[in-house]
């Protein structure tokens, strides 16, 4: 019996041995995954040169391998010393100022801020009166005045204008004055205008026949239209000034964040450009729904942003800025213009990167216009043009600062 038990135990063990030794071992991870693991490991440790070398070897075997292109672009971005963390505060996310436990609230705040900032910069801010409405009003009034019958336009000679306070500041001896009486909300009754060339005492005589004819009325009509046109130009100037002032204030508020933008390193920019080329190739080859496509687009946007903001950082002394005007007064436009080509590169690639995004759809008209402008603008500026712009800007500085 003991022998039977021994034999049965041994038999069982042999069967188990045979069973398990014949089981398939799990297949090894494929060599490509191992390669990627190796690259990721050196990327994480900050050895970008090694990561670049490894990815280049893989791309030599298969130049259209989008995964390897992606890691190659990451290595190049690392070699270009792109400081990703400094760029995040610039888009007002403030991740590093609040704890993750408060991100819910922060996200709402950031979204509101982002909306306001983009609205102000792109011109459809809700806090400034909509200029299009005002322009439409002026257009309507102009059309209305042009349609008015002559009987709706009248005038009144003011003989005694010379003695009024308004008259004392100019040499009104040779001018006729009249009140323009025109049925328009832009010209309130008794608004005084003057037509000159005749001595005042002769106004009734000299204009006599004209006063009775439609010729003068027509002149008054055209004068009113011209006045509206001037009003429109003034309004547009004021609106642009308001916008620039708001942009200056927004930028001023953003100074603590803008200070964190890394300086633009000219000797590293070619790495970043090569990185962007790789990412663009991925976008051409990959499915738009894939993560790698989206991440590539996002990174192009960030690198493009660096090309725009880095030169600004190089050309403005943010440390010395105490008010919004200092952003103009403490800027060095020469340095800024030296980086024109880089800014141009940044703007064109940024527009490409954000195409199709929610932000792009919302501001499509303006961004398309900007894109068209960029196509017209030269990629580089000649020295002569740089000098002209520099001179204009210095004049502005002298007047404002």
């Amino acid at each position: 019996m003991r022998n039977i038990n021994k034999i049965s135990t041994l038999t069982l063990c042999c069967m188990l041995f045979a069973f398990f030794s014949c089981q398939k071992h799990r297949s090894s991870t494929d060599s490509k995954s191992q390669e990627i693991e190796g690259i990721m490991s050196v990327l994480n440790s900050g050895d970008y040169q090694e990561a670049y070398n490894l990815s280049q070897d893989a791309l030599a075997r298969n130049p259209n391998d989008t995964q390897m292109l992606y890691w190659n672009s990451q290595a190049l971005a690392g070699l270009g010393e792109l400081d990703i963390y400094s760029l995040f505060p610039v888009i007002k996310m403030k991740l590093f100022d609040v704890a993750i436990s408060e991100w819910g609230e922060m996200q709402k705040f950031s979204e509101r801020n982002r909306e306001q900032t983009s609205s102000i910069i792109l011109g459809d801010s809700i806090s400034v009166a909509n200029p299009n409405e005002e322009k439409d009003d002026l257009d309507r009034e102009t059309a209305r005045i042009l349609r008015l019958p002559n009987s709706a336009i009248d005038y009144q000679i003011i003989e005694s204008y010379k003695n009024t306070k308004a008259a004392t500041s100019t040499n009104e001896d040779n001018y006729c004055f009249m009140n323009l009486l025109i049925d328009s909300k832009l010209f309130v009754d008794h608004t005084a205008i003057w037509l000159y060339n005749f001595p005042a005492e002769n106004c009734s005589i000299e204009y006599g026949s004209d006063l009775q004819t439609s010729k003068l009325r027509e002149m008054i009509r055209q004068f009113a239209v011209l006045k509206i046109e001037n009003k429109r130009k003034k309004y547009e100037e004021n609106y642009q000034q308001q916008k620039y002032l708001k942009i200056a204030f927004v930028l001023f508020e953003a100074i603590p964040i803008l200070k964190r933008i890394p300086y633009f390193k000219v000797n590293k920019k070619n790495y970043l450009k090569e990185s962007v080329s790789g990412l663009q190739k991925i976008i051409r080859l990959e499915d738009p729904q894939s993560k790698i496509y989206n991440h590539s687009k996002q990174q192009i946007g960030l690198i493009a942003g660096h090309f725009i903001l880095g030169p600004i950082k190089n050309s403005v002394d943010f440390n010395g800025a105490k008010n919004a005007l200092d952003l103009v007064c403490k800027s060095n436009v020469k340095i800024f213009l030296r980086h024109y080509e880089d800014i141009y590169y940044g703007v064109t690639h940024l527009i490409q990167a954000i195409e199709g995004s929610e932000f792009y759809i919302k501001h499509k008209k303006l961004l398309e216009m900007l894109d068209k402008q960029m196509k017209i603008l030269p990629k580089t500026l000649e020295q002569e043009e740089q000098d002209k712009i520099e001179s204009y800007f210095n004049k502005l500085k002298n007047e404002s600062c």
Partner: protein
């Protein structure tokens, strides 16, 4: 005898295979003991709660009781990093350090309420929580997360099907557990840019799976001093949660292993009662699926020393080394274990130091 010894040697020297998965010591239906032993306990019949490791050990767990138990990671590098990441503003320096030293962090927790009789056990686990987070690529940070919350309702039973008065194959027992699970999970990768520009609930969309699955176990007891006890078990049979080989091979995605999908183990072990206390040894070899593909690199040796109210528990494998202590009283057990672990196996450079704590209230 020689054949048995040959099995031991063969198992220890099976070739290392490669994989990209994440394993954890705290698994669904774990208690403190199985965690401290890194689930290498399928033959430890003398432990009253080892049927949680292998349902075939149910006939050896005597008594009726109601039990509340919790076990989870309470301290360690991951916990520290997690606390900093979630409750304090993140700084750039911390992020850079995370990339260099600790790009992978994880947290696990299991809780259980059970009602046990001589014939069966009913248990409800309201929470099995698992959170794995890994970050890659400092130039354009990407984050892989795998988050799970599993709720289960389980019935377990076992019986001795063969018994003889012999030193060789003295008894054979079978056991089974049947459980309903509700599995909420998300396994995704996103960039830091996505995190900065979208709401968290847009990035993390929990999906759910519901179903019924089963654990089956076999235990062959040998009373001979040198002949090992043998255990076979398969876990999560018929589970809808599958092992995703594509994720496992992906460089970025995290894929859990030996937790929710069907896997099996083969174990050899021995228990000795001495004057100075009881000693249990167990060598466990896991397989993917129902004994389909062997994963020898996860072979684990478990050791338990027990004297009255105190147990010392240790485990050793390629990727986990731990030592723990369990203090037992009539109604209350408390345990603490210290562990060095590499959840990412060979893809993790350094061992993470972790502390697990467990509490059991037995009524």
């Amino acid at each position: 005898m020689r054949a048995v010894n040959f099995i031991f040697i063969f198992l220890l020297f099976l070739g290392i295979t490669e994989a990209k998965e994440v394993t954890h010591q705290v698994r669904p239906n774990s208690n403190f003991e199985s965690t401290a032993l890194n689930n290498s306990c399928s033959t430890m019949f003398s432990s009253p709660f080892s049927y949680k490791c292998n349902p075939a050990l149910f006939p050896y767990a005597s008594g009726n009781n109601i039990q509340f138990s919790m076990v989870g990671k309470s301290e360690g590098d991951s916990i520290e990093n997690g606390k900093k990441l979630i409750f304090e503003p993140i700084t750039e320096e911390e992020i850079r350090e995370l990339f260099k030293k600790k790009s992978y962090n994880s947290f696990t927790f299991n809780s259980d309420i059970s009602f046990k009789t001589k014939w069966f056990e009913l248990s409800y686990s309201p929470y099995y929580l698992l959170a794995d987070l890994a970050i890659y690529n400092p130039t354009f940070p990407e984050i892989a997360i795998h988050v799970v919350n599993q709720e289960t309702l389980r019935a377990t039973s076992g019986l001795e099907v063969f018994k003889q008065d012999s030193q060789y194959i003295s008894s054979i027992s079978l056991g089974a557990g049947l459980f309903y699970y509700k599995h909420l999970y998300e396994n995704t990768v996103f960039s830091l840019y996505d995190l900065a520009t979208q709401r968290p609930n847009q990035l993390v969309n929990f999906k759910s799976k519901y179903g019924v699955a089963s654990d089956l176990g076999l235990f062959i007891k040998n009373d001979n001093v040198f002949t090992p006890n043998i255990a076979l078990k398969t876990k999560n049979l018929f589970s809808k949660i599958k092992y995703n080989r594509q994720n496992a091979n992906s460089a970025l995605q995290l894929e859990s292993f030996m937790a929710f999908e069907n896997y099996s183990t083969f174990a050899l072990g021995k228990s000795y009662k001495t004057f100075f206390g009881g000693i249990d040894l167990n060598l466990e070899l896991p397989f993917l699926g129902p004994f389909k593909e062997v994963t020898s690199e996860q072979t684990t040796l478990g050791f338990r020393y027990n004297i009255k109210l105190f147990s010392l528990l240790t485990n050793y494998s390629n990727y986990y080394r731990g030592v723990g202590m369990l203090f037992e009283s009539e109604n209350f057990n408390i345990g603490i274990s210290y562990s060095k672990e590499k959840d990412l196996a060979y893809k993790q450079d350094k061992f993470e130091n972790s502390v697990y704590a467990g509490v059991e209230i037995v009524l």
